[in-house]
């Protein structure tokens, strides 16, 4: 009996936590804006001419880098990426496309071959769509 009661209580706590999770995020929002302001006023020269990592690493991990960039730049406002070689880059899809737009099919070739359908182009304009 006691075990059943504990389980019910635990379940209720979980449901409560899940339903208030969204508000919890709201409560923490103020802190984030302060952080954003701090980042925005930081003067940093942005350089988009170098590769950020080796080819082999990027082939397997580019989606993780982009995901990380999106989260930290959009949600925390931190738009500066410190590459392992010391150079500072802007966390933006344009940083990549600066060089990689030369080949219009740069993204699509592999994604079509491997049948991967990322959602990048739901919002961003792809190289295929620009004249």
């Amino acid at each position: 009996m006691i075990r059943t009661k504990t389980m019910i209580f635990l379940g209720l706590t979980l449901v409560l936590f899940a339903s208030f999770y969204a508000f919890l995020q709201d409560g923490m929002a103020e802190k984030t804006t302060q952080q954003t302001a701090q980042y925005l006023h930081q003067p940093v020269s942005v350089d988009s001419t170098k590769c950020i990592a080796t080819k082999e690493f990027m082939r397997a991990n580019h989606m993780r880098v982009l995901n990380e960039w999106r989260n930290s730049s959009v949600r925390e406002g931190n738009r500066i990426f410190l590459a392992p070689n010391g150079s500072k880059l802007e966390k933006s899809l344009n940083t990549c496309l600066g060089c990689h737009k030369n080949n219009k099919l740069f993204c699509f070739n592999c994604h079509m071959y491997a049948n991967v359908k990322p959602k990048c182009w739901n919002c961003h304009i792809s190289a295929m769509e620009t004249p």
């Binding site: 397997a60 991990n61 989606m63 993780r64 995901n67 071959y113 491997a114 049948n115 991967v116 959602k119």
Partner: protein
Amino acid sequence: MKKALMPFFMVAVLALIPYVGVRYAGLGYLFGIVLPYTAMTVLICGFIFRMADWMRRPVPFCIPTTCGQEKSLDWIKQDKLESPSSFLYAAARVLSEVFFFRSLFRNTRSELHKGSNLTYGSNKWLWLGGLAFHWSLLVIMLRHARFFFIMVPDALQYLDDADRFLDVTLPAFYMTDALVLAAVTFLVLRRIRDARMRVISLPSDFFPLFLILAIILLGISMRYVTKVDVMPVKALMLNLLNFSFEPPGEIGTLFYVHLFLICVLAIYFPFSKLMHMGGIFLSPTRNQCNNSRAKRHRNPWNSDIKFRTYAEYEDDYRDKMKKAKLPVEKQ
């Protein structure tokens, strides 16, 4: 406990073989080309052999297991699915067993309560766990079509889209990944937790579970955590499907472990309990019609009986019968 630990270590050792072989001995060709072909040959030939062997076995008796009213007089309502009298309903019963595990749904559990009160209760956890496990594995297998076809068929693409419908995390999270992991964990724990289940569990029950668990964990790890470049993987798979013997490109070692364990599973398949995949269609208690009163079931190994009809008897003794003034049918 040894019964569970031994298969666990077997899987661990098996996983180490390609890891060492590819990383330190450079045996990519063996593990990427030779072994998959061998494994598929063994799987297909073995499967066909086992099925043909079982299909040739005679079925001596009409023994369908039923739990409903059989076909009788017109005014008695027949339970057509539970006690089928035609091929169509018998097939429907087998298929519902295959797709929904109906007999597991009726699973009951008996327990002793307060000393000597034996009670029976419905117990659907095995049914739910088994269903989640098998369906997830099927969906995951179909999803892998994206590695085997240049253009994925539309139906499989829809299945894939439905599976990542939640649209969270960047390599989109597949629901079946979580489902199958939960289900296989439950199936392992179910055998380990209960003392009575432990007694009847064998290493051959644990081995496929651990093997499949390892394959799933490696697959999930390659997708979400330790990334593997998929381009050479797809090239290798297309090559394999085209029966080409080109050596594979540079692929992460974890992929070879994943592939090797699948090959082990494929080779193990025809020799193991996993043959229930084909066997369920051939089980006589399921696939026969319950029509033993309407139709005579002939035992195929009965030798032919020589009957002597009355007409033959009369032919032999007609003269003597006439003399004794016995009535005869034919003069």
